[in-house]
Amino acid sequence: MTGWAIEIAQAALVLALAPGLVGVVRWLKARLQSRRGAPPWQPYYELRKLFGKDVIVSSNASWLFRLAPYVVFASTAAAACLVPSLAVTRPLDAVGDLLVLVYLLLLGTVFLSLAGLDPGSAFGGMGSSREMTVAALAEPTVALAIFALALSAGSTNLGQIVGRTLADPAAALSPGHLLAFAALFVVMLAETGRLPVDNPATHLELTMIHEAMVLEYSGRYLALIEWAAALKLLVFFALLGNLFVPWGVAAVAAPAPLALALGSLLVKLAVIAVVVAVLETRVAKLRLFRVPELLSVSFVLALLAVTSSFLGR
């Protein structure tokens, strides 16, 4: 019984933390650019505001336009539940592994792209086309990074990967792990639409990818999509944190280790948020047709990660 309790706790925690994380990143960027910036909990206000507003739907759009937000939110939430944010041994661990998690995120991206096409506006089409391009090019890197991790752990299950690294700390510093971390970090930037690939804060239609798809949304649909985007960011941060630096994740389901796990999770998320914020203030956005070069760099990193892990055996 306690397993399921942890699952629910984890889900609630993740859902609650996500908008805050986005707020923290925005706040950090503002401070780094010597601006006061909105407080980190600003996104919660936005969500409450959006949920309260009426919805206007384009006359060209179909039922898919209305279904898409729910599917995007559901798939990202399901992915979030699979991440071992607090404990290792949990019932959901057997249901899905790292591959399933990635494909759930891809499901969300696909529905978002379709929703972008539905109203028939040029920007929606452009955003959808570019989003699918980036997602498609990121796939091989993700797969190889997963295989690099899976090789040392012997399986792609998240629990086992975390457990394996906990049991043998030296592995965390092995070249395979480090290269995989770098590759996944680049993929995170691409998938969640962070700066070098796509500017989350921009409204200049020609440059944005993620924003262009959601231009037509309003009200509670927009709230769901914003929340899902925040959830996706949290999923990637938690993955980067717990898979590569697993210390603190509770090995056994007792209250003390869980509290420690919560603390260590928050610390890891904060550290990654700072790194991302610093990166975003220093780096300018890449032209869209330079993004594949960035992704091919990450692909080579992942390839080296895999080769080093099986050469090392």
Partner: protein, 683 residues
């Protein structure tokens, strides 16, 4: 059920198809002919499924020989073992809905093309396909194989008044004939000198063959069956023949016939030749990866919906061959459990592809039936006009894109899991090959998702781009029922993976290099690949997704029940929204075309004609872009040129001059006399 019931089931199947073919030929009203055709086909498919299910469950193969026929090849020998039963099941599962669909779809042919001929050929095509998996000696196999190609050729030629159909038919029959020649040589090389043509004799003789000869036989089989399966570089007929055929025939060809190429290679490599060296598996993985990438890359830039689906068939066959190649590789490296998983994953993907590709082709057929056009740049906005077709096409697109909770995702996940242990294995060459295979698999999965978002989005969403699209109407009921059945099957195969996998494991057991008793591949709802600790449960995942969806919907419904208005949304100040503002299929694929520019080498020409009075007012702007058809231009064109040159030379022999003719005769006499002299001198 004893052996007689299987015998009578097979007899019933053959009679049903023959009955359907004969009934179709009767001079009746077109409606009745179409109904009888579908009746015969569905009855035959049903009998086929029952037969396959019986053999799969009961486990013992069913055999039947008719010595009177085909005496030269040692009589007609039929035998259905696990491997054959699986493909028979696949044929049946695809054939029944396609035949039902055909009733509505072929109504449009009533005046122009002969429905009776179409009906008869459809039933014969299904019959010969079913007999190919039953054949148990060389001549029966070759006869049914070529008859299948012939029947499908006539089906492709149904709409013969379109000139691209005639060209497609030509390409198709030429390629399959070349394939048959390769298969013929492979089988004859394999059969023992004593002349016994049965597969049992071949199995016995294969053990005694020298490794070099076994290698030659394997390569010939891969090329021969690869040309039917659509492996690169022998795939060029597939994107021509499938779109030209009527849609329910394309569904059958892409869904079932292409898989018989896979069946052929499995029969030769697994069953007849037994365990081979490691390079066999590596060759198949290489060809599979190449086919997958070429298929998806050309599918991405395709504007014709059915050609896009045909290229995607090349891609999915490539994925299947990666699985088969991995299986053979593990078998040769002595890891039977991993081999079983890889082969099971390949078979599962073949089944899944059969189902969702048939669904997509039927959907494309419904679109063509409604709008009369297959060019995506002229479609759009059909989701409102063809709601059923759109929903089913969406299910098919998600399944083929490898997205949970549908069946495509499950088989792709299994393929990934089957490649995992190889990267860890010690053999020198294996790890790099496998890493590249995983990279290719993942890139293909990603690009496939992009291709099918484009296919669905541009065809069904937003505003209709032409009058035909605007005036489109929903397909007749028989077509919708067929599509719904297949869509349901996609979901079922996805959720029921835990039941399907053990059956696949079972039918593979006992073959060369595989364990006698199949390893446990599942534990309850969980899929458990042997060796690795990874597991996944598609059914629980689907339930989780539905719960999350329902939860979100309820929460929003209760928490934020606000008004919803449908109107004209703000478009940065433009006046009205017209169809010309939308992204077209060419535009959608433009970023990826730019990314893979080296491969596509796109040629773009932009013509802008200006208003006569002033240069500054543009009247119209046409943009045309072509990509390089590598294989046609650099593999087949030189071959055709070379044959044409040879033909031109032989034409010169018949120059018309009697003296030249007599000179040939005298020269031949003198030459032979010289040879005879030299020969007798050496005697």
């Amino acid at each position: 059920m004893t052996l007689e019931t299987t015998a009578c089931l097979s007899a019933y199947m053959v009679l049903a198809y023959l009955g359907g073919a004969f009934a179709a030929l009767l001079p009746l009203r077109s409606g009745l002919t179409r109904a009888l055709t579908a009746g015969g086909a569905i009855a035959g498919a049903g009998a086929g499924i029952a037969l396959a299910a019986r053999v799969l469950i009961a486990g013992e193969p069913f055999a039947l020989t008719v010595p009177a026929l085909l005496t030269v090849g040692g009589g007609v020998a039929l035998r259905l073992d696990g491997l054959g039963a699986f493909f028979l099941l696949l044929i049946g599962v695809v054939a029944a809905p396609a035949a039902l669909y055909g009733v509505g779809y072929s109504a449009a042919y009533a005046g122009r093309y002969s429905l009776r001929w179409l009906g008869a050929m459809l039933n014969l095509f299904l019959l010969t396909m079913s007999l190919v998996v039953l054949a148990d000696n060389v001549l029966t196999f070759l006869l049914t194989w070529e008859a299948m190609s012939l029947a499908s050729y006539f089906l492709v030629m149904t709409e013969h008044e379109r000139d691209d159909t005639v060209a497609a038919g030509g390409w198709y029959l030429a390629m399959t004939h070349v394939g048959l020649a390769l298969i013929l040589v492979a089988f004859v090389l394999l059969s023992p000198a004593g002349g016994g043509g049965g597969f049992a004799d071949l199995r016995a003789a294969a053990a005694t063959l020298s490794p070099a000869l076994r290698g030659v036989v394997f390569v010939l089989a891969v090329l021969g069956f690869g040309s039917k399966a659509g492996l690169v570089p022998l795939h060029v007929w597939l994107p021509r023949a499938h779109p030209a055929a009527p849609s329910h025939v394309s569904a059958l060809m892409s869904g079932a016939m292409v898989k018989l190429g896979v069946y052929g290679i499995l029969r030769v490599a697994l069953d007849l030749l037994g365990v081979g060296p490691a390079w066999w598996g590596a060759l198949l993985i290489g060809l599979g990866a190449a086919s997958a990438l070429v298929g998806v890359l050309y599918a991405l830039t395709e504007d014709d919906l059915k050609r896009l689906l045909a290229y995607s068939s090349v891609e999915n066959v490539g994925l299947v061959f990666i699985g088969v190649g991995a299986g053979l590789l593990f078998a040769s490296l002595g890891e039977p459990a991993a081999a079983t998983l890889a082969l099971a994953a390949a078979l599962y993907h073949a089944l899944n592809h059969g189902v969702f590709k048939a669904l997509l082709f039927l959907g494309a057929g419904a679109v063509a039936h409604a709008t009369g056009s297959r060019d995506m740049n002229r479609l759009g906005g059909l989701i409102g006009r063809l709601p059923w077709t759109a929903a089913c096409f969406l299910v098919g697109a998600l399944a083929i894109g490898g997205l949970p909770p549908f069946n495509g995702f499950v088989s792709e996940w299994l393929l990934f899991q089957s490649l995992l242990p190889a990267i860890g294995s010690g053999a020198p060459l294996v790890a790099p090959v496998m890493t590249l295979a995983v990279g290719a698999l993942a890139l293909t999965a990603g690009l496939a998702a992009a291709a099918f978002v484009k296919a669905f989005g541009i065809t069904f969403l937003a505003l209709p781009r032409s009058d035909e699209a605007r005036a489109a109407h929903e397909a007749p009921v028989t077509m919708r029922v067929a599509m719904v059945v297949l869509a349901a099957l996609c979901a079922l195969l996805g959720l029921g993976a835990a039941f399907v996998l053990p059956v696949l494991g079972g039918l593979l057991a006992g073959h060369a290099g595989l364990p006698r008793v199949a390893p446990a591949l599942t534990a309850g709802p969980l899929l458990l690949p042997p060796g690795g600790g990874a597991s996944m449960s598609p059914s629980l995942l689907a339930i989780g997704l539905l719960l999350a969806l329902a939860g979100a919907w309820l929460a929003v419904r209760v928490g934020a029940a606000r008004g919803l208005r449908v109107g004209d949304t703000w478009g940065c100040g433009r006046i009205g929204q017209t169809a010309r503002m939308e992204y077209t299929s060419t535009a959608y694929a433009e970023p990826l075309r730019r990314v893979f520019a080296e491969l596509y080498r796109p040629t773009e020409d932009l013509t802008i004609d200006v208003h006569p009075e002033s240069r500054y007012f543009v009247q119209s702007r046409t943009y045309r872009s072509e990509i390089v058809p590598w294989f046609e231009r650099y593999v087949y064109a030189p071959l055709v040129r070379w044959v044409a040159a040879g033909a031109a030379h032989t034409r010169a022999i018949q120059s018309g001059s009697a003296h030249a003719y007599l000179a040939y005769l005298v020269v031949a006499l003198l030459a032979l006399l010289a040879i005879s002299l030299a020969w007798s001198a050496s005697l």
